[in-house]
């Protein structure tokens, strides 16, 4: 009695699993196709996703540049002996989400000269970008 119940429930769980696998694989096949149609990529058009990704990086880099162009930020960079071009070069290496996170923080900097937040931001930026140069205390990063 017990064994037959067990084997029954096992058959059922195998069946449920099969259904789940089928469902998931159908989703992965169908969803991108549906989305491509939405963005207009279906008819030989260049889709929105492609342009969005490149615009998104450009916007985030511009937000970071705007923060670094502040007087207090650029003088802090200078104090660490880092040229803005070096920062640009290293920004290219960040992933999209890392770049977005940095840009959000850059935008959130408090206004006003000499604010502590600016120094902290610059320091973290330089550590993230491994740009502390001779004073590099984290060579493994």
């Amino acid at each position: 009695m017990t064994t037959s119940f067990r084997s029954h429930s096992r058959t059922r769980s195998v069946f449920v699993r099969l259904l789940a696998v089928l469902f998931v694989s159908m989703q992965t096949l169908l969803v991108p196709a549906a989305h491509a149609a939405v963005t207009g990529a279906g008819q030989g058009m260049i889709g929105t996703a492609e342009v969005l990704q490149q615009e998104s990086r450009a916007e985030n880099e511009a937000r970071i540049h705007a923060a670094l162009a502040r007087d207090d930020a650029s003088s802090a960079l200078e104090r660490f002996g880092v040229a803005p071009e070096q920062v640009d070069e290293r920004l290219d290496r960040l992933s999209d989400s890392e770049l977005a996170s940095l840009a959000d923080q850059a935008e959130d900097l408090p206004a006003g000269e000499g604010a502590l937040g600016v120094l902290v931001f610059i320091l973290v930026l330089l550590i993230i970008l491994d740009l502390l140069g001779v004073t590099n205390v984290f060579p493994a990063i």
Binding site: A37, T39, G40, T48, V51, L52, E55, E59, P110, V124
Partner: protein, 318 residues
């Protein structure tokens, strides 16, 4: 309570990646006042925000019902509980809340900085926020809705758990928000764009809405976006794609033309414009010319020229 799944993907050193959050914490900890612009009033309250006291651990459905109600969706918070509440986790996932709002054909736009939060309140939109009420290493996730602020930004007003219009110290609030990685969202009524929406984030949010609820759900928002950003390359390009997918070829052509005017050096807008003009039997010479100048000698240009040449000529343009 809520669980969080949005874990950052660390491709590189975990130490370096770990530095992203602490800077947010440090900056957050310095703020005892919300960063009000000089022209903002000392206190603001979004009017007519519905209130749903949460039951047990169901802060996610309650907060979601609040912002949905405010965006004009009649909701039953018990129905939302069935949809977004996971009994095993005794909580909701942030991404599920966002998906549930999109499934109701509403635009969900991210609000990830204190400045953006205040901007939404000023525009009369409550903001759904995720908070970590405990520690980063032992999180206690919570969802609440910010409905206003007082005392020149020293206090925020929240609909949270069973309390309506609960005042909370800004400093404490911003620390709990920072520990949840400043995750927040605004949900707007059809055709209304969030205050201070930026082209890139807006287009992404609109694409996500189209993906979840279908292109037609996003149309009113897209038209508003086209009007707000008539000279933005990305918005006009994406608007063209949206209209094309809806079968509104003449309107799509208008938007792509606007995109090429905004940034004549971008190939993508010329490409789609030329294909659309060809399909409508219109003159493609100037669009092909633009494409040639923006991507001379590229493989894609050759494909475009071939595709346009292969398109049978129509009887009349549009």
């Amino acid at each position: 309570m809520a669980q969080q799944t949005r874990l950052p993907t660390h491709r590189k050193s975990s130490l370096r990646a770990a530095l992203f959050l602490p800077v947010a914490l440090l900056l957050g900890a310095c703020q005892s006042l919300a960063p009000l612009d000089s022209d903002m009033p000392a206190a603001q309250q979004v009017p007519d925000v519905p209130f749903f006291p949460q039951e047990a651990y169901q802060c996610g459905p309650a907060a979601l019902a609040t912002v949905l109600g405010s965006a004009g969706v009649p909701v039953d918070d018990q129905a939302l509980v069935d949809e977004v509440w996971l009994p095993a986790r005794r909580g909701s996932l942030a991404m599920e809340l966002v998906a549930a709002a999109r499934a109701r054909a509403r635009l969900v736009y991210p609000v990830n900085t204190p400045q953006a939060l205040l901007q939404q309140l000023e525009a009369g939109q409550p903001v759904l926020v995720m908070q970590n009420l405990a520690f980063s290493f032992y999180p206690r996730w919570h969802f609440a809705v910010v409905t206003g602020y007082r005392d020149r930004g020293a206090t925020v007003v929240l609909n949270t758990d069973t309390r309506e219009a609960e005042p909370e110290n800004w400093n404490r609030f911003v620390r709990t928000w920072a520990r949840a990685d400043y995750q927040g969202w605004v949900v707007t009524p059809p055709g209304i764009l969030p205050a201070g929406a930026r082209p890139v984030a807006l287009v992404r949010a609109l694409e996500e809405l189209s993906g979840t609820a279908g292109a037609s759900a996003a149309t009113a928002y897209w038209d508003a976006a086209g009007e707000r950003f008539p000279n933005d390359y990305l918005v006009q390009f994406a608007l063209g794609n949206h209209r094309w997918a809806e079968g509104r070829a003449p309107h799509a052509i208008d938007a792509w033309r606007a995109a090429t005017r905004a940034r004549p050096s971008e190939f993508a807008a010329w490409h789609n414009l030329a294909l659309a003009l060809a399909s409508q039997g219109c003159d493609t010479a100037s669009a092909l010319d633009g494409a040639r100048q923006s991507a001379p000698g590229s493989e894609r240009l050759q494909q475009l020229e071939q595709a346009v040449a292969d398109t049978p000529a129509g009887e009349s343009c549009l």
